[in-house]
């Protein structure tokens, strides 16, 4: 059996692809490449996956450091527990798996083996939200933020594109407490063309200022919120857009500033509105005693229907025009 790293050969139809070839579309998933660089001077870095090294694009690590790359097979809980054991024994493991088969599947192991002992394990949950489209709910992760947010000691970050992912991995490489990175499938529209200024744990990035409303967005919804803001600007509606890249801790100051300076606050996420970014923003607004209304855009406590991801974003009103419509409707109802 040949297991080459090349795509199907030249005698095939130009439109034909196999799994290896299709991965070339996941350009934003650069974790493997970045970890190869970071591991050069850090022999304690290792990479773990559960039969998803290729689709999450960390398999490149195996080519450089075969002795520090561990494919656990389809056995996620074992992988998470083993990562904890490695971290307790001087290694600095990075787990790379689909978000559904990491944060959703191995929740107890993440809590009891990694977060409670406060171990330096970094988890990269890819294909979050409904990026797996017609694979269905088993492969979706619209609960992962909600499952993980109540885990003490855990930091949750959501880099939206290749540049942000690189910046986040580099900035957190010497982080000594548990970390979860929520990322997409790698086919996202890039948001950044330069590193995020003043990037910090607990920070956020204001990508566009506005006075009528603020949208706090995460993941794919950051690019969608920017599209919505452009669409609304043409109608004279002035919307602030914030990339809430630090989901826990959340940027409290940015949320309270938005509540003071704009009349409406929106959250937009590829996640159930219960437990995710919308809940985090709501907690800040309520505890500060603000009277600013919050509108949570996301999955309204439902499992997604089946369909290609791009169709799902439109169907659930998460794309640019869907978010714009929601903002327009809320503002006109006031």
């Amino acid at each position: 059996m040949s297991v080459s790293e090349t795509t199907v050969n030249a005698e095939f139809d130009a439109r034909t692809w196999d799994m290896v070839g299709s991965l070339n579309l996941s350009k934003q998933l650069v974790s493997g490449d970045v970890l190869v660089e970071l591991a050069r001077t850090r022999p304690e870095i290792c990479v773990l996956t559960a039969d998803l090294g290729r689709p999450t694009r960390v398999r490149v690590f195996k080519e450089h450091y075969p002795e520090r790359y561990f494919n656990f097979g389809i056995a996620e809980r074992n992988m998470v527990g083993a990562a904890a054991g490695m971290a307790a024994s001087g290694m600095r493991p990075y787990i790379s798996n689909y978000a559904c088969f990491l944060a959703v599947l191995a929740t107890d192991n993440i809590r009891t083996d990694i977060c409670y002992p406060n171990l330096p394990v970094k988890m990269i949950g890819t294909h979050s939200g409904v990026a797996m489209g017609f694979y269905g709910t088993s492969h979706h992760a619209t609960e992962d933020i909600g499952f993980l947010r109540p885990m003490a000691n855990l930091t949750i970050l959501a880099p939206v594109d290749a540049l942000a992912l690189r910046q986040t991995l580099e900035a957190t490489v010497d982080f000594e407490t548990p970390l979860y990175l929520r990322v997409g499938r790698g086919r996202e529209t890039p948001v950044y063309d330069a590193p995020i200024e003043n990037w910090r744990i607990g920070g956020s990035a204001q990508l566009r200022d506005g006075t009528d409303a603020t949208i706090f967005a995460t993941g794919n919804c950051v690019a969608f919120a920017l599209l919505a803001a452009s669409e609304l600007a043409a109608e004279g509606i002035d919307v602030r857009v914030v990339d809430a890249y630090s989901l826990k801790p959340i940027d409290r100051d940015a949320i309270l500033a938005a509540a003071r300076e704009t009349s409406l606050v929106f959250s937009a996420e590829e996640h159930n509105v219960i437990g995710g970014l919308g809940s985090a923003v709501a907690e800040v607004l309520a505890e500060a005693g603000t009277a600013t209304k919050l509108v949570r855009i996301g999955f309204q406590d439902v499992y997604s229907v089946l369909g290609p991801p791009t169709h799902l974003y439109t169907y659930y009103g998460l794309d640019g025009s869907g978010i714009a419509k929601r903002v327009r409707d809320e503002l006109s109802a006031r």
Partner: protein
């Protein structure tokens, strides 16, 4: 009791051809699909659904039907055409495969697909579900059987062995597990990622009877194996270890690991279909020496 039509081997063969052709067609609709995992079980599924499972397509929730669960849910694309052909739902539904709001996704949804006995997609869950079904059927004194189809990569999930332990301990003789040993999984060959062999010794040690289906594409072997395990004299759960070929039926898929997931452009779709059609035609002619029924 047997309500599905009992078919002869030549008809079963044409049904398996239909399954593979539909897998090609539906994958064209989706834009990607698990050809390898679907083709490796085409004959086994055909034999089960058209010969051995007691089903009532007009009454999908019939309480005493045999259950079929799909641990390797990503190969459900091979079951949908059979369910439609048996009349569980109109064949036109197949045309909506993976489109927005379709009941038919890459993995089965029991709430949307008549004839799908359980949902799946997270590897390793369905043997536990099948254990629960077998326990419930025993309590209810039903003579229905539960068949769980799993992948060989799936055997790495610890949950499989939690389920296997209880099934063996409880002597769930109404439970049949099939392990599709097509020898590949998402990242690589199973033997390279995590070799779970010897599976026969493992299942025996967990209290199961083990039957080896040496060629999961050979009709005689398949029918003999199922006749044995469905003969009503079981005293333990049975694991059928079926050696199969990922991508079976399309030459360029049989020889490489990479067609676990993929997509055929129009020219290669025609090439693959032509190969399947040529095999089907060769069996409709009088047999010549050297042909082995596959």
């Amino acid at each position: 009791m047997m309500t599905a039509e009992v078919l002869d081997v030549s008809t079963l063969r044409s049904k398996a051809h239909m399954v593979r052709s539909e897998v090609l067609r539906l994958t064209e609709i989706a834009g990607s699909g698990h050809y390898g995992s679907a083709f490796s079980i085409a004959e086994i599924l055909t034999a089960l659904y058209y010969r051995f499972l007691r089903l009532r397509p007009a009454e999908p929730q019939w309480a005493d039907r045999d259950r079929f669960t799909m641990g390797k849910g990503h190969a459900m694309i091979a079951v949908y055409p059979i369910l439609a052909d048996l009349g569980f739902f109109p064949k036109s539904v197949l045309d909506t495969y993976t489109r927005l709001k379709s009941p038919l996704g890459d993995h089965p949804d029991m709430r949307k697909v008549p004839g799908a006995d359980f949902s799946s997609g997270s590897i390793g869950h369905n043997l536990s579900v099948s254990v629960g079904m077998a326990l419930a059927l025993n309590v209810r004194r039903s003579d229905a059987r539960v068949v769980c189809m799993m992948g060989d990569g799936e055997q790495a999930e610890g949950q499989v062995w939690e389920a296997a332990a209880l099934a063996g301990f409880r002597k769930l003789s109404n439970l049949i597990a099939i392990v599709d040993r097509n020898k590949v999984q998402s990242d690589d060959a199973c033997a390279t990622v995590l070799d779970m062999e010897p599976l026969d010794e493992k299942y025996r040690a967990f209290g199961w009877d083990v039957v080896h289906l040496a060629d999961g594409h050979d009709w005689t072997q398949i029918l003999d194996t199922f006749a044995l395990v469905f003969d009503g004299t079981r005293t333990k759960p049975v694991a059928i270890l079926a050696d199969t070929v990922a991508g079976k039926g399309v030459s360029f898929m049989e020889t490489t690991w990479q067609w676990h997931l993929g997509y055929l452009g129009p020219a290669d779709y025609r090439r693959a279909q032509a190969e399947l059609d040529a095999q089907a035609a060769s069996f409709s002619k009088p047999r010549t020496s050297g042909e082995n029924g596959r």
